[in-house]
């Protein structure tokens, strides 16, 4: 066995440049595959982060239209509803327009009960609740702008014009890998007070409601019941699960995501072709040697293990190079993107697993044609073959 392994290792290293280029080719392809899968994962991060027991109630016409604040109490009375909170998209500009992260005005009394994945120290949370213009920011925002507790964040309002000053009173940690670590949240009341003074016609409105339900199996009837409440009103609602709500955001980019998905699998095909080509060349060159091995008594199974083993070594090395290169590539890619483009951007363990398994399967698949050729070549023909 060891001698067989020795022979297949020597065979692998026989054409060093070709072996190196093949490993590099597979490595680059695996890295591109993992990067594409990571981008697709990042697109889906919102969907992944969705909780099964959360519903989103928004304006039936479009997400951009607000809903009356008065809906809150009526929604809370719907059977099956456990808790209701609301949020409003504040937008605004921090430093300049290239600095992107979500800025939400939220009901500070209930929002963090419904979103337990934002982990905040209790004393920070208490401090936040006490101060009108306090804000809680994600750890990623704090890291990116070197912010600490007590620092001032000045936002230039666009949806809500004017200068807005916030004091950082809390920095949350994301509980899960899919939790957005770059969201800024502050008191809805603070915004509402100013809106009442400066634009009273826009007061008393929220962006959307987030409804926590007692039993996730009741999502459909509870959604229906909520929407029924506001049927034929001035602001009809559309209630759906948080997952469906997030997926609606993705629908605009669905063609791009589909293309990326297809591309990632095309890359698998490219790896197969690169390795298959190398293995076919190697096996053809060694037709004579394999014939000699057959003469010595090597069976088909032994020859298969020699050829497939060589193919597997190349594919495993290539996959390892690719996966090692993926982490810096992902970091570089994220750095090159505008700040906050993908708040959740990480290489999923599933991506690494899938790339590794693909590498193994490709290694085996790439050896099938050369193995078939070698086994079907008669010994006397093989001995006549000039590589």
């Amino acid at each position: 066995m060891l001698e067989l392994l020795n022979l297949l290792l020597r065979n692998t290293l026989r054409h060093k440049l070709r072996g190196f280029l093949t490993v590099l080719g597979i490595g680059v392809a695996v890295m591109a595959f993992a990067l594409l899968r990571t981008v697709v994962t990042a697109w889906h991060a919102g969907v992944e982060a969705s909780a099964a027991n959360r519903l989103i109630t928004r304006h039936a016409v479009s997400f951009v239209f607000p809903l009356p604040l008065a809906y809150r109490d009526r929604i809370a009375q719907v059977p099956g509803v456990n808790k209701v909170t609301y949020a409003m998209w504040f937008s605004g500009v921090y430093i300049d327009k290239n600095q992107f992260f979500a800025r939400l005005a939220v009901d500070s009394n209930t929002f963090f009960d419904v979103y337990p994945e934002f982990l905040i120290e209790p004393e920070q949370f208490e401090s936040f609740k006490r101060e009108r213009n306090a804000a809680i920011i994600g750890v990623e925002i704090a890291r990116r702008y070197n912010l600490k507790l007590g620092d001032i964040m000045l936002l230039e309002g666009d949806v809500y014009p004017g200068q807005w000053e916030f004091v950082v009173r809390g920095i949350y940690q994301p509980r899960d890998q899919t939790t957005d670590p770059a969201t800024m949240m502050f008191h809805f009341k603070y915004v509402e007070e100013r809106v009442r003074q400066e634009a009273p016609d826009r007061a008393g409105q929220v962006g959307w409601y987030i409804v926590r339900i007692a039993n996730s199996d009741d999502a459909a009837p509870v959604s229906e019941a909520i929407d029924k409440l506001f049927e034929n009103s001035r602001a009809e609602t559309k209630t759906e699960t948080e997952r469906a709500f997030q997926q609606n955001f993705l629908s605009a980019a669905s063609a791009v995501i589909t293309a990326m998905n297809i591309m990632s699998f095309v890359i698998i095909g490219i790896i197969l072709l690169v390795l298959g080509n190398t293995m076919i060349m190697s096996a053809r060159e060694r037709t004579h040697e394999y014939a000699v091995l057959k003469v010595l008594g090597f069976t088909g199974a032994k020859l298969f293990s020699l050829i497939a083993g060589e193919s597997l070594i190349l594919s495993i090395l290539g996959s390892a190079v690719g996966l090692l290169g993926t982490l810096p590539a992902v970091a570089g890619f994220q750095k090159a993107l505008p700040k906050g483009w993908f708040p959740v951007f990480y290489v999923k363990p599933g991506t690494i697993f899938f790339a590794s398994i693909s590498g193994l399967l490709i290694g085996l698949a790439a050896s099938l044609i050369p193995v078939r050729r070698i086994l079907s070549t008669r010994i006397v023909e093989g001995l006549r073959h000039i590589g």
Binding site: L2, E3, R14, L296, G297, T299, G300
Partner: protein, 224 residues
């Protein structure tokens, strides 16, 4: 009367090229005793190598029966034939056919991988075989570091290392200079005489054939 080691009965071999059937061997019947050193001679295309390949079980006859040590090799399937060759046949090629990425010792050890011997036993056997051919000091040399004569001696060591029933050699001196050819022939003669190895050799060289205990001539696929 002692039964011959090899019995070839009415063996014919033809190749098909497109619609054409090309006869290579015609109704060959032949016996070889154990310990015989038989040389096949004849012009190119007379079927010498084909006959050798059939006896060694690396090709199958179109008709006839080949019995080697009681086994009808024409009845064996590919896997059975491979196992049979590994136990019963040592093959010496004209162009040595050593594996270039393996050392002399590893090349000789190669057929032993297929046996249940331990690693140490395999090493010991390979070293002994290389000593027999006079290359005990070339164990770690790669084929490219050896002369043609030395490569052929390594190939002979590889052929004898499993102690096969028969040794088959196809033009073993065809690619060697006179001195090296002489060394290789002397070695084969010694294997036959001292170790009682049954050797079948195809050659064009009358001096090589002189070393054999008997010579058979083939012409146009028939034994003369």
């Amino acid at each position: 009367m002692e039964r011959p080691l090899i019995e070839i009965q009415n063996v014919s071999k033809s190749y098909r090229r497109d619609a054409l059937e090309i006869p290579v061997l015609k109704n060959i019947t032949l016996s070889v005793r154990e310990g015989e050193f038989l040389a096949f001679m004849g012009p190119s295309g007379s079927g010498k190598t084909t006959l050798l390949n059939l006896i060694a079980g690396i090709d199958k006859p179109t008709e006839g029966q080949i019995l080697v040590a009681g086994t009808d090799v024409t009845e064996l399937n590919e896997t059975e034939l491979a196992l049979w060759r590994s136990r019963h046949v040592g093959f010496i090629f004209q162009f040595y056919n050593l594996i270039p990425v393996l050392t002399a010792l590893e090349n000789v050890e190669l057929p032993l991988i297929l046996t249940p011997l331990s690693r140490n036993e395999r090493r010991a056997h390979a070293q002994t075989a290389l000593s027999v051919v006079g290359l005990a000091d070339r164990l770690d040399h790669y084929p490219r570091q050896l002369s043609g004569g030395q490569e052929q001696r390594v190939a002979i060591a590889r052929a004898i290392v499993t102690d096969p029933t028969i040794l088959v050699a196809d033009e073993p001196t065809g690619d060697l200079d006179k001195v090296s050819a002489e060394e290789v022939l002397a070695l084969m003669e010694r294997l036959n005489r001292e170790l009682n190895k049954t050797i079948l050799m195809v050659t064009h060289d009358p001096r090589a054939a002189e070393r054999a205990s008997s010579v058979r001539h083939l012409d146009k696929g028939e034994l003369a």
